[in-house]
Chain length 233, copies 4
DNA sequence: GCTTAACCGAGACGGTACGTCAAGTCTTGTT
DNA sequence: AACAAGACTTGACGTACCGTCTCGGTTAAGC
């Protein structure tokens, strides 16, 4: 599922003595966590309540997760596991597609409440940040890598020459894409809908400068002369 | 200072009878809040501890703020009040300057811990989101507006024709800039230093597409949509 | 009330700042403790339940008592505070009277459950033993002293000459009297009723040996140390 | 050993199917129980800890005893099994001897902690009281009976005429003796040493009244005229 | 200079959730 | 069938903070 979920993997081998852990409990607990996130939000979510919802004892919960943070990260990570990168034929379309998927997940209240709170906590908890990275961030970054490879195969992007520079750029792209969607959704509290995603993709690919104002995908090509372009600051 | 800070302005007129509130208390409380944020982080910050640090009774604190969320927002808002937009001569330089300032503030632990947690809470509290917007977000957005006006005066950007479209674009830019810095700082947990800011500004102004890969923002490419260029991921 | 009840007497002076403790809470808590002892016994008594019964928060309870042991000792001590030593005209009658009172208190289930458990705990807790001594044992021992003084005034007992020896004897008497009643009530689980108390008093005053088997305590035997008599087992 | 120890005797016949119970386990468990009583006392003794000390699974423990109470009673009963009544030549000497033995056992921490707690629990648990009676109390009472028979054979005590009255007297003696030692040891927390036992035996045999003030075993006989005797209340 | 109303500190109050622990049961695989 | 191991449910533990309240004692402004 997520990996590294257990507070400490107790020698998970099958020949281990004693009663094995209930596999159904994990599923029920994570589902209950998401349900509680929707109803109560992060700050009012309590582990006792999650345990009750999951039909599980509180101790079972503490046996498997170190605390609220770790539990919520795992619960939210399952949401982001749904992200895919279907081939839509062009870099712009691929970006729009995956950004819309990301935005759709982030629009769900359990993701909103849980993810940002976990990130906030991770500023003071290196292990938590690593957990978030491993179970949520890195899989997303893999999509960026896949999209770049696809665009390079299509000839839309050049093959990178300097691997270190390439890695830096991927990180940059990822921060811009994910950050913009998150900020739009959480801080501005406006939907990252198709129209916004089109505008965002245009800026991402072509930038703000009028010099680079090629017609966006929603414009009718050839009329770019009198379209003002993505003006801004 | 921040505005709307008090939980309910108790008929703030100067001729009001009774002992006036201690102005020093506000200052001490907000400073103590930031101090506690640095030492403890959001989740372990308690109002009782803040009151003790500020040399103030807990009731004094509750008399002025509705709760932890509101208090922290006000404490963090003072940090962002330092943001300015000095004229550095070009749009790119202005952007780099303000983004670096923003990144410097966000690098401080009290901002990291406090801001994201407050944003997470605001997903379930409209009043809190409005407070964040009024005291933190809108002043920042004003900087974007100011920068755009300055760039238009310099001729770097065209004057907008459609005010609604212009507003949408400002919002988009703001989400991209703020979101990228926040994501870089908090999620990727890497410093948004000068090198990163340069790369980010280039992407923001010119985009990823090789089409826009001209060396300067005033350059007029358009020669080839598919010729490989230096930028891109 | 009992003395030393509070976990730490918080400078009980009247001019002390802050909200004063509710005096009614103490009364309600101790009554609730006895009620719970009757219904549940020591081992199933929980502080949370006592708090609920008393209409008081659990924290209020912990603020005033260090734990279950101390609380129960104070609750039981109030029962033994009822003991008196009315003058019934003779040493034997005085003894019978006070022993019957003691037995009546010890017959109550809250005393049975609570006292012995507290004593058992006190074998590993010096502070608890001291508390028991101060609030339960010493007041009872004072009755023994008073009874002896009264008997000496009546001429039934000679005035003591060696104070140390006198103190040892008082301790011995007390252990015999209290121990016998406790053992009868708790271990043998038989009522210490009037008949038993008469028999016990006779043994206490005259002993088992036939030599002392004269009808009244003022009788002067001494004829033979070893001649068999009517009493004895 | 103790009798009725098993929670349910599982058809103890030798031809019984399945793996037989480990005989060593019982010994190890009871010894571990006493060890834990010494180290932790009753209230902090846990069955899991006992199982660990005994090198036995918790389930093995529950298979044989119903709970903590029963286990501790059996563990303590083994201590009191050591009691004997050697013939010391006189009733007084016999009493002193057995009381000293009893006091020595009761001075051991595992007896102190365990016995009184079990007695306290037995006030609300008839089966437990019966178990205590059968395995601890009745064997002790048998010693009283034996001592009386011996004293009667010596002529120190008359033969009883009314069997019911005789039984009542034995019970009384037993409550007085055991109760006094227990109270001395646990409540007064003073050692029931030889000196105390001499004083106690004198009171038991001769009573408090000066009329019956024969010289005690530690007194020099013949000087009883000016010795005040066992004064007290 | 005397009210008077609102402030302030201290701290007890009824609650809620925490994270831990023990009791006692159940499920494995092994002896 | 008893055993060791250990996961399970249940529920109490004692702690920490919550947000409210009740005190006694300060300040100022305004009469």
């Amino acid at each position: 599922m997520v990996g590294g979920m257990q507070i400490r993997t107790p020698a998970c081998g099958p020949g281990r003595p004693g009663r094995p852990r209930s596999a159904a409990a994990d599923t029920a607990i994570l589902a209950a966590t998401r349900e509680a996130l929707v109803e109560l939000g992060w700050s009012k979510l309590t582990l006792g309540d999650v345990a009750t919802r999951a039909g599980v004892a509180k101790t079972t919960l503490y046996r498997r997760w170190a605390g609220k943070n770790e539990l919520v990260v795992d619960a939210v990570a399952e949401l982001f596991g749904e992200l895919e990168l279907p081939d839509r034929g062009s870099l712009a379309a691929d970006i729009e597609g995956v950004v819309l998927q990301f935005a759709a997940i982030l629009a769900r209240p359990e993701a909103k409440s849980g993810l940002m709170a976990a990130v906030a906590e991770s500023t003071r908890d290196d292990a938590l940040r690593e957990r978030i990275r491993a179970s949520i961030v890195d899989p997303q970054k893999d999509l960026v890598l896949e999209g770049r490879a696809r665009a390079q195969a299509r000839g839309e992007l050049p093959a990178e020459t300097d691997p270190a520079e390439a890695a830096r750029t991927v990180d940059l792209i990822f921060d811009v894409v994910a950050g913009a969607v998150v900020h739009r959704t959480l801080v501005s509290a406006e939907p990252a809908d198709e129209e916004w995603v089109r505008g965002f993709t245009r800026v991402l690919l072509q930038g703000l400068s009028p010099a680079s104002a090629a017609p966006g995908p929603s414009d009718s090509p050839g009329t770019s002369d009198h379209s003002p372009g993505p003006s801004g600051d």
